[in-house]
Amino acid sequence: MTDTLLKVRGLKIEGRSDETWNPIVNGINLDLKKGEVLGLIGESGAGKSTVGLACMGFTRDGCRISGGEVEFDGIDLVNASAAVKRGLLGKRIAYVAQSAAASFNPAHKLIAQHTEAPTQHGVSSRAESEEDGVELYRRLRLPDPENIGFRYPHQVSGGQLQRAMTAMAMACRPDLIVFDEPTTALDVTTQIEVLASIRDIVEQFDTAAIYITHDLAVVAQMADRIKVLLKGDEVEEADTRTMLSAPTQDYTKSLWAVRSFQRPAKPKPAEDAVPVVSVQNVTAGYGKSAMVLHDVSFDIHEGRTVAVVGESGSGKSTTARCITGLLPPVEGSISFAGESLPLDYRRRSKDQLRQAQMIYQMADTALNPRKSIGEIIGRPVEFYLGLKGKAKRDRVNDLLNEIELEPGEYFHRLPSELSGGQKQRVGIARALAAEPKFIICDEVTSALDQLVAEGILKLLAHLQDTLNLSYMFITHDLATVKSIADEVVVMKEGRVVEQGPKAEMFVPPHHPYTDLLLSSVPEMDPDWLTDLLAERGVDNIGDAAVDKM
């Protein structure tokens, strides 16, 4: 026999919706040798996770394997009994989920969850696996490895949880681990640390892995080979370097090209220009005790985009809440076109409210699921502009045209009948409906696939050019910043650490935190992570480096 660990042939999976079975995966082939890492990439809906789980002989409720074979080390997983599969899962095949925060049971301590698989599978005693858990925590560079296991999941940060989950998957020293987007939900500086830890430990134990992600730069660091999926079909497969340097299929090339969108730089605003929005020395917080923002100041000029970047918890969204008046600052002032605004939105005039609109990260939750698209966009048209009847309908149709959705087709649809990108477009149209001067975009592309996100960015840029809008663009993705920002504000722990025009911000010297952020963004170079670790050392990346500042 060869050293093939996993063999998948003609795998077909169907999902149940509306009382019929619809194909999700149409015949995937896959081979994995012992100790090899295969990257599975594709956009949402490509069937990556479904394939990953099927490699464990598992399908989610409402899905079934309808054809093909999955053979793990000579065992047929498609036809194996539930008991046989249970004997393999956790012991020889393990899983690392996308959201560690949701995948750890909130009712039990980390170490109790860690020791569960080894004790239940009879691999080792509780005491032995606890000891081993501490050792794994240490190898994954978790802080305070002796005691961190005795905490509950909610007491541990996201990046640490993701590493604890990798440790848990390693508990029985499995032959195969399926990583399902393990770093997607993390900040860049945290992601890099988790990536380094995962890569390290997979190499140390010579574990084979399937690494599922939508982020090409990430998969380039982790995988020996890459397989690209599109809507349940395989597009192509090659080893990582070949795939990056010479993709053969058009779809793969388009994925590679996504990050190329870049707006030309705009001239600097005049010295005496009055900014559209000016945030001056704002200090704000929730409740009385802890302040979340400290002395934040920046200006946003007409027709320009200011990107506010920083990690989760750095105060980006809180700043937006201060500008909109949802959270009145304790100190400082917000002015609009030179005129000072009341701090509380309840004391602002309708016209002042109209001038500043917001687009949200989760278009899913920001649109009322019971209202049609026409009603959602029509509401601000009527509320702010007082249009009714035909005038209102015409205006809504114009707005739909502007966001490139055919009015006749979409006017009466419900949000649930739209794709993620289309919903975000509706969110944009709703903001435009008020005819504002200024729009706050809060992570508007974070929940979208790269190709779709690029479309949204292009649309926003086009609207800015035609309507002379100003944007405050909140994001943690520096690639987005590079493509559309004019000015950049870097925030950390509620303070502005650095700000300036984009051209200056991407050229050294930087504030050390900006430098860390920039250097943590994965690049499409398979040696990037290795080089970076060699350059900075393992103790100078991620949270460890942030803590030193």
Binding site: L53, K85, R86, G90, Y95, S103, N105, A107, Q120
Partner: protein
């Protein structure tokens, strides 16, 4: 709360005097009894008198006792507290026995139906418990009497317990009413357990547990149940409160001397002090059990027990 009880009780048509004297009562006789009992005082004065007494632990004296004693010239008056205490103890005993049987039974059934959901077993259990909760209590009681007392004399059909009975005798006599109440309260608790567990079965940490190769039973008991406790505890508290306050019918059928019977008898003759005291006890039982449920929910949730 005390105002609501007092007002509601006083809104009852007629009063103790008219009820006890019947239709042919003369106005003088009614007035005389009212005067003896203090019913001629304005309602507000009576309310504050009652409230002041209650706050000092004095629930007053039953009208029936006062009337009876004054007519016979006796001096030893039994207070409402003395009257209620043994009855309340009996009710608590019945509720305790029922809870001991029903709670573990309902939760086990809930776990099993969640484990074997959408199977014949699940459906049979759901039909069974739903039929039992939908049937009138006296109907269930007589069915149990028929099968467990008449056809197969396992338990006595009358539950007239006394204070000097041994514990095992009491338990034996209490069994039939307890079983009847078990049938009444099981469905609610079982279905909540089942629903709360099934609700969690789609969560990522349950998927994770299944992907660890754990047995379905362990997944449910160890991973789903601890996170489903809060709603289950609340439903249990609600049902326990029902066992203390709402079991009049079962008490009547089995002649069980609980607080429910005392309550109904007192309402019949408008014996206000007793009615008010019973209401206060019922209200207190609801409040205390719900408080207990909230405390237990907090204890069962590590997020609340160990803030960040």
């Amino acid at each position: 709360m005390s105002i609501v009880i007092f007002t509601a009780v006083n809104l009852l048509p007629g009063d103790f005097a008219t009820q006890i004297l019947g239709q042919g009562a003369t106005d003088e006789a009614v007035a005389s009894i009212r005067k003896d009992l203090g019913l001629d005082q304005p309602a507000v004065a009576r309310y504050f008198g009652w409230l002041a007494g209650t706050l000092q632990g004095d629930l007053g004296i039953s009208f029936a006792q006062m009337n009876f004693q004054s007519n016979l010239g006796g001096t030893q008056l039994t207070t409402v507290a003395d009257q209620i205490a043994p009855r309340f103890a009996n009710t608590m005993f019945l509720a305790g026995v029922t809870a001991t049987i029903a709670v573990p039974f309902a939760i086990s059934l809930g776990i099993l139906t969640a484990l074997f959901r959408n199977t014949a077993f699940d459906r049979a259990m759901n039909i069974g418990t739903l039929s039992s909760i939908s049937s009138p209590e006296f109907f269930l009681a007589y069915i149990l009497i028929l099968f467990l007392a008449v056809l197969n004399p396992v338990f006595p059909s009358l539950s007239n317990i006394f204070s000097d009975m041994s514990f095992s005798d009491r338990l034996n006599k209490t069994m039939l009413p307890a079983l009847t109440l078990t049938l009444v309260v099981t469905a609610h608790m079982m279905r909540m357990t089942r629903a709360a567990i099934i609700n969690l079965m789609a969560s990522p940490y349950i998927e994770m547990a299944r992907l660890k190769g754990l047995s379905p039973m362990r997944v449910i008991v160890k991973h789903a149940l601890p996170n489903a406790l809060a709603p289950i505890i609340n439903v249990i508290a609600l049902n326990l409160a029902y066992l203390i306050t709402g079991v009049v019918v079962v008490e009547v059928v089995f002649v069980y001397p609980g607080i429910g019977q005392l309550f109904v008898d007192s309402v019949k003759i408008r014996d206000l002090p007793v009615v008010q005291a019973c209401c206060l006890i019922f209200a207190a039982a609801y409040i205390l059990l719900n408080l207990l449920a909230d405390v237990l929910s907090i204890i069962s949730n590590p997020r609340l027990r160990h803030p960040k």
